[in-house]
Symmetry: C4
Subunit: 124 residues, 4 copies
Amino acid sequence: MKAFGQKTWLIPDTFLHSVSRSEEDKSHEAICVLNTGTRDAIIKLTLFFEDREPCRDFSARCGAMRTHHIRMDRLRTVDGRGIPVDTPYAVLVESDVPIVVQYSRLDTSAAEMALMTTIAFGVD
Amino acid sequence: MKAFGQKTWLIPDTFLHSVSRSEEDKSHEAICVLNTGTRDAIIKLTLFFEDREPCRDFSARCGAMRTHHIRMDRLRTVDGRGIPVDTPYAVLVESDVPIVVQYSRLDTSAAEMALMTTIAFGVD
Amino acid sequence: MKAFGQKTWLIPDTFLHSVSRSEEDKSHEAICVLNTGTRDAIIKLTLFFEDREPCRDFSARCGAMRTHHIRMDRLRTVDGRGIPVDTPYAVLVESDVPIVVQYSRLDTSAAEMALMTTIAFGVD
Amino acid sequence: MKAFGQKTWLIPDTFLHSVSRSEEDKSHEAICVLNTGTRDAIIKLTLFFEDREPCRDFSARCGAMRTHHIRMDRLRTVDGRGIPVDTPYAVLVESDVPIVVQYSRLDTSAAEMALMTTIAFGVD
């Protein structure tokens, strides 16, 4: 199948709330990747902050003809660090093959939950 | 009227929650199609997963100068199967005529409800 | 100021819930228009349905260098009809000058409220 | 790093609710900017209204290789005025270097909260 999409995607508004209603309904963000092509995607994630240098220590993969809903709260660097919580950040997603990227956030810091989503900004 | 839009659309973040507050307020997703042209649209839906081969068994139609809010929870294959619940997936929408596609999700798994929407990613 | 945007915009997922928590917090949709140019915008709205012919009886205006958050629940035809409630529909927005269009929905049919928004699909 | 994005962005639907559940969970909007380039971004914000002239008194900055989640409820003009509350408005974002812009709103006017987001409309 054709590899639809683009190789570079940007998400200016990412934020992981440290408070959740419960362990089952955890506040989380997902960078959702769709790879319709026949080659696996190797994905570099660069995190940008308001007051410090970018962090290039996170990466992910998405198999050929697969989706990967990358849960940012579960993502770890090779030395075991997670992403910072309660910190405004932004993400640059770079893949070696074309992909499509959508960003979604579920917030359960209140008793009920709130959802938001958008297709990321893609660059050729 | 002119057939506005594109023939190929991608939605990386789809997910059907199995829990709903009530039968009237069922958690659901809709792939909303607008066909402004004068020919009916025949629509192939390919579902992508995180850990198995894509599924090409779902399809839909949208009449000429009509909209179709395709309720994913009601969609069935010819042999009566529905889409998997509580499973991260992604959708490739392919139409034989230009259409515009927007994806929306209503989640009522908590007592109250949450909504999210985005125009899908369109390809010429 | 330059007239940014496009003249044709499409919104596949529109829906006006008949139930609201209260008169002050009414469930509503808004087609939000931004006209940065120096000429007023005359805006035709065509409503598409799942099971009947399109309706071309609604229109709106947006002044030069103004925004207009068109409340769909308050919009009336020249003979006083409103848009149908609890009915899936879609909207084609056509302006005589370039504009930018964003669609938002507030649902207060449950005790709490849910919000969703997206930039509409623009066509040159 | 390359300066991804565009210099002009438009957001037709902005609105700052005056009611919040609490000071910690304040209803707010954020215009989230990502500047991946090596030069700081100087950002002009022009506010458009439904019934008065545009306001050009707000501005912001985003450092090189930084993000800035511009909290509209905290933004002030040089003479200390904030943006009007409970007023439909729209925003034109103009930067001197390429950026990517996403708009998000958190509403806590009800007991629980609602979220919405979209990538803004970018112009080359």
